[in-house]
Symmetry: none
Subunit: 411 residues, 2 copies
């Protein structure tokens, strides 16, 4: 069963907001076995809406439409839906009562524009919106289902979860879709592809493998489609197992979670603590860890030691080390990681120092030069990288590389 | 001039990633006077790609395609583009040299799949990708321009900024659009709207005002449309001046830059330095500062003091203060900011401590309780906030609120 998601309104088209609604809907739909074929954002324009509906109806079984249902005059979705289905707009008494109730509760006068919210195309089944005034609408015509919902995220989400998804599951016989993600770090997409080429060739037609690369990490995602769960999960697990064995140390975890979260979980399971000494990453690495709830059982904190003086006072890096070798050097990163272990009393520590750029490079230490040290359990890994001249990229790559090194040390 | 953005690949369709690329592109295109008519995410499927290209070409003047250019076999964009234009794929020698160079630099063997990256449809002009192996491609056929770029955000962004947008501006006669952004902090959208209602009423039809709210900040963007620049800039500047005078202390800067960058610039101009003591924001505030080139002349660094012990050892917070009042208290945040000033020897300091959530709240200190202190130049501001139970939002709001407080202290 295929679906398309159409978002109506200008906010996304002018870049003012990012379309998080569709991502959320896509996740929910995939989980119940509905594949999303296309996601479109279109303008609040009659002709454009008609065209998008026609195109979608030719492609999929269910068309989800969000947005364009507010009370202001630029919202023409309902009128256009009525035109599309060639029906009149009629007043829905229940919706009118609901709208009146909301305005009464807030002691606001009911304006004509608000009363119009209770008008819906004559052929729809109203989907009750308990969080707002705009009703959802369910249509079925020529074997295609159309579901129109308000664009306000929590109104849409509630309507989907409480009303639309249960109804869909009841009405349609859905296939089973199973996803399994293998998180890898430290190897590129093409290297991995070559490593597992024969396993990929063995995949049956109903199991697909996708490579999802991102800054030094690649997610391998197996997706299996079938009629029933029995057997499917086992099949996917078997292929996952073969892939994991093959890729060796690049394997991090067989869950769809962030690399730093996988590390936090691993360390928490072993009762280990972690601290950091950041220079060029400037707090980004700490932020990666601390964005995850519950990180405090592992992550103690650390120093963002941008200035020389802070490297000395917080981490105990020797002034002569900085004078003789510079802040971006093997000697300094070693003292940084040792200082973190000692001063912050953690089991493991990460230190990063480099030239994030775009300025500050020299001939021997060009922009993008980064030293990373990870230490703990009597072991230490130190590596030098040259990541290039993009500041943001340097910061992100340094952090991800440090995570990969720590993961190796923990293996 | 109208544009459409097509993103190829399954990541968005299964909800694994949110389409931030398109939002960024839409913003950039709107700024140079190109309206985005539709944004679509489609699957990595030959027929679907062909259909989407045809539909887009019927609607707009420029079709932007991102994604589907990686080296692995699930990427069929190039082949399909060649089919769409009815041309062969040919090897581009410059791209091949570039790909070889990248692999040589990282001491990796060049695989056959990598060599294939240098193949492009015969009718395209290659857009050099200095950040990756997948080339961009520029097509022009039947009065429609097609621009295909890799989906990796920083590769796409660099290619757009450095190559595509300048080229578009050169080739097409675009209307003159002048934007002027006024950054405000600390006041809500409706408050600002009420304050400047009469100025907004005075705006002529060709100047629009947009409110762009985001987490405690509101950007007011004036956009003027015209045939030529003469007179337009002066008009916009006059309205901006009236607005700035009216909004008073909520005004931060009349540039479209980040709040922390405005603060860095202001402090650099006065030769002031800054340090931070972060608990619940966990490095995020430091990261906000350190993502900006040249921040080191102002930002010295600080402590990410997640654990009690680090609050004591790095910042000198007294153990009895933590024991008696807890980590999230006026007393602790005061000692944190004083410790930062003293230990890090900066002119100004920010301290933040709170319960980011979703767990860890108590009856008297619910999740979202945050204490923020900013100090410097013999002055100190301390405030308590309750931001609610969303972790990510708490972290971001805490950081932005701290920035707003520092901006006030600097005014």
């Amino acid at each position: 069963m295929l679906a398309e998601i159409i978002t109506i309104g200008d906010e996304i088209l002018i870049g003012q907001i990012v379309d998080t609604n569709s991502a959320w809907m896509a996740t929910e739909l995939n989980q119940i076995g509905i594949r999303v074929k296309q996601i479109s954002s279109i303008s609040d324009d009659r002709e454009h809406i008609l065209k998008a509906l026609t195109e979608a109806a030719n492609r999929v079984d269910i068309v989800f439409v969000t947005g364009g249902l507010g009370p202001t005059k630029d919202d023409i979705t309902k009128k256009t839906l009525a035109e599309y289905f060639n029906v009149e707009l009629v007043e829905d008494p229940e919706t009118l009562e609901h709208v009146k109730g909301i305005f009464a509760r807030y002691n606001r006068p009911l304006l004509e524009v608000n009363r119009l919210q209770a008008y819906v195309p004559a052929n729809c089944k109203v989907i009750f919106n308990q969080n707002g005034t705009a009703p959802g609408m369910w249509f079925y015509e020529n074997k295609v289902t159309y579901i129109s919902m308000p664009g306000v995220p929590f109104e849409m989400m509630y309507m989907m979860t409480e009303r639309v998804l249960p109804q869909i599951k009841e009405l349609f016989k859905l296939p089973v879709i199973i996803h399994k993600t293998i998180l890898t770090a430290g190897e590129g997409e093409s290297f991995l592809a070559e490593r597992i080429a024969d396993i990929e060739d063995d995949l049956p037609a109903h199991i697909k493998l996708a490579y999802l690369p991102k800054l030094g990490m690649v997610r391998l995602r197996l997706s299996a489609f079938g009629e029933q769960e029995t057997g499917l999960q086992e099949q996917v697990d078997q292929f996952a197992k073969r892939i994991i064995e093959r890729i060796g140390v690049a394997f991090v975890i067989d869950e769809d979670i962030a690399l730093e979260k996988a590390i936090l979980d691993k360390m928490e399971g072993r009762g280990l603590t972690l601290s950091v000494a950041e220079s060029c990453t400037g707090g980004y690495l700490s932020h990666l860890f601390t964005q995850h709830p519950g990180c405090s059982s592992v992550f103690l904190g650390g120093g963002v030691t941008y200035a020389y003086e802070l490297k000395e006072s917080i981490l105990g890096v020797k002034q002569e080390t900085l004078d003789n070798f510079g802040a971006v050097s093997e000697q300094t990163v070693t003292e940084m990681v040792e200082g973190a272990l000692k001063n912050f009393k953690s089991d493991f520590a990460i230190a990063i120092t480099g030239i994030a750029g775009p300025d500050g490079g020299t001939e021997t230490k060009p922009v993008g030069t980064v030293w990373i040290a990870v230490a703990g359990n009597q072991k230490m890994l130190i590596k030098k990288y040259t990541f290039g001249n993009k500041r943001r990229q340097n910061i992100e790559r340094s952090a991800v590389t440090a995570l990969t090194m720590l993961n190796t040390l923990l293996t």
